[in-house]
């Protein structure tokens, strides 16, 4: 089986990563009852014998000794990483996997990308190589970062291009947390996001865009349900996508609920690569099926169900509801309505006791209401993994390559233009060694051409496109 390495950069990236490792341990503890180190566990964890000096690795099949996360943690301040090291997850990491500085990137992409990117280049590559050497078949890097700050967006995207340079054969799937326009506390976040975007467009295989605001909305929706719900419809303890119940961490910290959603997204996207199923979906199948053109690799995720009710007597309608929900506005991890935009392709990654006939029935049912691009009217990819997530009988992760992402990008560009027109804060960037104004113009140009590509495809929506004339054979 293959392995993946998680690279978490910046404050947000490390907080999300921390939640991911907690929930990953919880999930494997749930499935793995024998305490043996199996292939599934091996995809994200090493099993080391701590009695040996250099922590010798134990083979698959033996008892679990000491699990170490296949992760590289990078932050340019110490707070979050130190917190992790003092928390219940400290055993999972060791110092060789960590890289921190003390002064932070000051919410400046250029400081992260150029200053720290150059200063720490060797060290980062070294840590990545070490993590890769521990794998016998490294398939994928998962980069987790945010777009708004300095370290996540700047150093994060620098790490992305280092990954491409050093490991061209290994896929790069990026989870990017986009700032919300409404409650953005970083004034320079439009700059940082735009500069990071052009890196993502050039160097990632797939990007899973996640908007902060969507996470906030989902959390409050679940909270409302669990407090104001009718009697008998209480939420099952460990089932909500925001829940940490059963994990190692005790008290909940701010953002934990939101970060758990992203952690669950990563668990579900890798489930079919880790566990058995009747229709496996390996990580390298995601790009093959969902990315028709190299730059259009932004895949909008949606997770269902968000929680399971304790009442076990709910009718089986729930399964079909799960499929409907995956396409509704409320379940998307960006604020957009994919049903009103054009689908280029869509993957359904199903977990639990769901058969191919259930999936087929639901595709048939939903298809008429979803606009697909003319040359990919049947652009559906399915994965069936037999192991459900903790607390659920079944779950669904939909990944949509849908033109609705362009709205998020356009909003971002608008906020960028507002600042850039006044040249506000520009000098902070231009003061950084190596930074030039052309970075801004090129980045916004790249974003505009990306938006243009989506526009172009959108324009075909609802229009009857005739079939391409076939090759004719002389008889």
């Amino acid at each position: 089986m293959t392995q993946s390495v998680v690279v978490q950069v910046g404050q947000c990236g490390n907080q999300v990563g921390c939640r991911f490792w907690d929930l990953a341990l919880r999930e494997h503890a749930h499935v793995n009852k024998k305490g043996l180190y199996d292939e599934a566990l091996g995809s994200f964890f090493r099993n080391v014998d701590s009695r040996e000096r250099d922590g010798g690795a134990c083979a698959v099949g033996g008892r679990i000794q000491h699990l170490k996360a296949r992760a590289v943690l990078v932050d340019m301040e110490e707070g979050v990483v130190n917190e992790i090291l003092q928390g219940p997850l400290r055993e999972v990491f060791d110092s060789t996997q960590l890289l921190t500085d003390v002064s932070g990137s000051g919410n400046n992409w250029a400081v992260g990308y150029l200053t720290y990117g150059s200063a720490y280049r060797e060290q980062i590559v070294d840590k990545l190589r070490k993590a890769a050497e521990h794998c016998d078949c490294l398939q994928c890097f998962f980069l987790i970062h945010s777009m708004g700050g300095g370290t996540g967006s700047g150093l994060g995207t620098r790490v992305l291009s280092l990954l491409e340079e050093e490991f061209p054969e290994v896929s790069r799937i990026v989870s990017s947390i986009y700032p919300s326009a409404a409650e953005d506390d970083v004034v320079t976040s439009p700059y940082n996001s735009i500069l990071a975007m052009s890196e993502l467009t050039e160097h990632a295989d797939c990007v899973l865009p996640i908007e902060n605001q969507s996470l906030v909305d989902i959390v409050s929706k679940i909270r409302q349900m669990s407090h104001g719900g009718r009697p008998g419809s209480a939420i099952k303890r460990d089932s909500a996508v925001i829940s940490w119940e059963g994990g190692l961490s005790g008290a909940e910290k701010p953002f934990d609920a939101m970060n758990n959603i992203v952690a669950n997204l990563l668990l579900n996207i890798t489930s079919s690569a880790r566990f058995d199923g009747s229709l496996n979906m390996d990580l390298n199948e995601i790009a093959t099926n969902l990315v028709p053109f190299p730059r259009l690799h932004y895949l909008v995720p949606s997770l269902t169900p968000l929680y399971t009710l304790t009442d076990v007597n709910v009718p089986t309608r729930r399964l079909d509801q799960m499929f409907s929900d995956a396409f509704s506005k409320d379940h998307q991890l960006i604020r957009a309505d994919p049903r009103r935009s054009l689908y280029l392709a869509c993957a359904l990654m199903v977990r639990g006791n769901v058969q191919v006939s259930d999936v087929r029935r639901n595709i048939e049912r939903l298809k008429p209401s979803l606009p697909f691009v003319s040359w990919n009217q049947e652009g559906w990819k399915t994965g069936l993994c037999s192991v459900p997530p903790v607390g659920h009988a079944h779950s669904l992760l939909a990944l949509a390559n849908n033109t609705c992402v362009k709205l998020t990008f356009m909003e971002l560009r608008e906020r960028f233009t507002k600042l850039y027109r006044k040249k506000a804060y520009l000098h902070h960037y231009l003061d950084v060694d190596g930074m030039e104004q052309s970075f801004f113009t090129e980045a916004v140009g790249s974003l505009s051409s990306l938006i243009e590509e989506y526009h172009h495809l959108d324009a075909t929506m609802g229009r009857l496109v005739p079939d391409a004339p076939r090759l004719s054979i002389a008889s």
Binding site: M1, N284, S374, T382
Partner: protein, 443 residues
């Protein structure tokens, strides 16, 4: 004589496992020594301890499915796979034909050839090779095509049959039509015959005839295995003088694939019913054969919703009805009857020259094999393997969708990355269009 099966990719390994399961449990059922010996010799070899070991090589680019198939076989206690006749890697082909054909296939050529060679050497006499795979994914289709090519090189005179599972029209793999076109175009140059099962058709059989509510891939694969088994188990041919045919693949190929331009075979089997109903049902050969004939000419793949209006055109209309008619013309058919009173079955309806092309007499175009031994718990079972226009429509749809995608150049960069160029695509499209055109003009 024995057949060596090569199972490739997730689908090939799952269907292959079901097939061996059916073959073994059918061969060991009841007291019928001759049939059982003949069947076992074909598909299994016996160890010194008397265990039956499938004459199969299991190949996949990821280990999960192979491990599952091997341990399920071992657990059933009737037969098993050879301990070292499998090869897997850690990382799949990512649904990309080019990755399978250009990267994984060549990289592991030696190992795979060696595994097949070992299996072949274990046979007293080799009847042929059967490669089982799907056309949708990357490993089955891409590695499968590459391996077929290698086998053709090593065994130029051996019969090679490819069993292909065609994906559901929608929902499995988005680039499935590209992968299918590339696979078929290449296999058409290599294989002696290509036997096709369409998931959509089999799915309908599971739902409508077997009354399965939540249809799983396991259910679909079981039906495919049943149909394949009914073709491949021992049977008496017209000139075998009471001895079970010894060269099943050769007989199948020579009866059905009489022209290199026509290699696509489809199968239909009746009856299919839930196992709980079999005991309460009676079958009669005349009605089964009447149904089967109408299923053939109206191109209905299951015994329900048969269109009884379709008739073969009269001799005078022959030349006019090139396309557009609902009548499904055959090039050749093999009818396989198994079960009680099999010698009383009257097969004249399928010998009607009106069903066939003008350039092949119905004696050449029609063959029937029989066996008095009931197959897989059915008292009577009739299977028709046809080289006909039956696959024309699904093939045409598949190429149409792939061509539309290709016109926008969507997903092409994924293939170019592994060394398959736009010209390679065009070559494959051209050769499949040629096949479509040939079948359309069958008269």
């Amino acid at each position: 004589m024995s057949i060596v099966t090569v199972q490739l990719g997730q689908c090939g390994n799952q269907v292959g496992h079901e097939l061996f399961h059916v073959l073994c449990s059918d061969a060991l059922e009841g007291q019928r020594k001759v049939y059982s010996t003949a069947g076992c010799e074909r598909f299994f070899h016996q160890t010194s301890r008397g265990e039956l070991v499938a004459r199969a090589v299991l190949i996949d680019m990821e280990p999960k499915v192979i491990n599952q198939s091997m341990s399920r076989a071992a657990k059933c206690g009737m037969w098993r796979y050879g301990e070292s006749s499998h090869f897997s890697q850690k990382q799949g082909s990512g649904n990309n034909w080019a990755n399978g054909y250009r990267v994984h296939g060549p990289r592991h050529r030696d190992v795979v050839e060696e595994l097949v060679r070992r299996e072949v050497e274990r046979c007293d006499r080799l009847a042929g090779l059967m490669a089982m795979m799907s056309v949708a994914g990357g490993t089955g289709s891409g590695v499968g095509t590459y391996v077929t090519q290698c086998l053709r090189d090593i065994y130029p005179k051996t019969f090679i049959l490819n069993h292909l599972t065609w994906p559901y029209g929608t929902g499995e793999v988005i680039v499935q039509n590209y992968n299918s076109v590339l696979t078929l175009a290449h296999l058409y140059q290599l294989s002696d015959a290509i036997l096709v099962h369409e998931n959509d058709t089999v799915h309908r059989i599971c739902g409508q005839l077997l009354n399965i509510e939540h249809i799983s891939f396991g259910d679909v694969n079981k039906v495919i295995a049943h149909q394949l088994g009914s073709v491949l188990q021992p049977a008496l041919t017209a000139d075998s003088h009471g001895v079970y045919g010894r060269n099943p693949l050769g007989e199948l190929v020579s009866a059905l694939a009489c022209h290199p331009e026509y290699k696509l075979l489809s199968v239909c089997t009746i009856p299919h019913m839930p196992s709980s109903s079999i005991a309460y049902s009676t079958f009669s050969w005349p009605s089964m054969l009447k149904h089967l004939r109408q299923m053939l000419i109206s191109n209905t793949k299951m015994e329900e919703g048969i269109n009884w209006q379709v008739r073969p055109p009269a001799a005078s209309e022959r030349t006019r009805s090139l396309t557009g008619s609902r009548f499904n013309r055959s090039l050749a058919n093999v009818l396989i009857l198994r079960g009680k009173d099999v010698y009383s079955a009257e097969t004249g309806g399928l010998e009607d020259p009106a069903l066939y092309t003008s350039w092949l007499s119905s004696e050449e175009a029609f063959n029937s094999w029989k066996s008095p031994v009931p197959f897989n718990k059915y008292e009577k079972c009739a299977t028709l393997v046809s080289n006909s226009q039956a696959l024309l429509r699904p093939l045409d749809n598949m190429v149409g969708k792939a061509w539309n995608m290709f016109a926008s150049r969507a997903y092409i960069h994924q293939y170019i990355k592994f060394g398959i160029s736009e010209e390679d695509f065009l070559d494959s499209f051209t050769s499949i269009e040629q096949v479509i055109s040939s079948y359309k003009q069958l008269h």
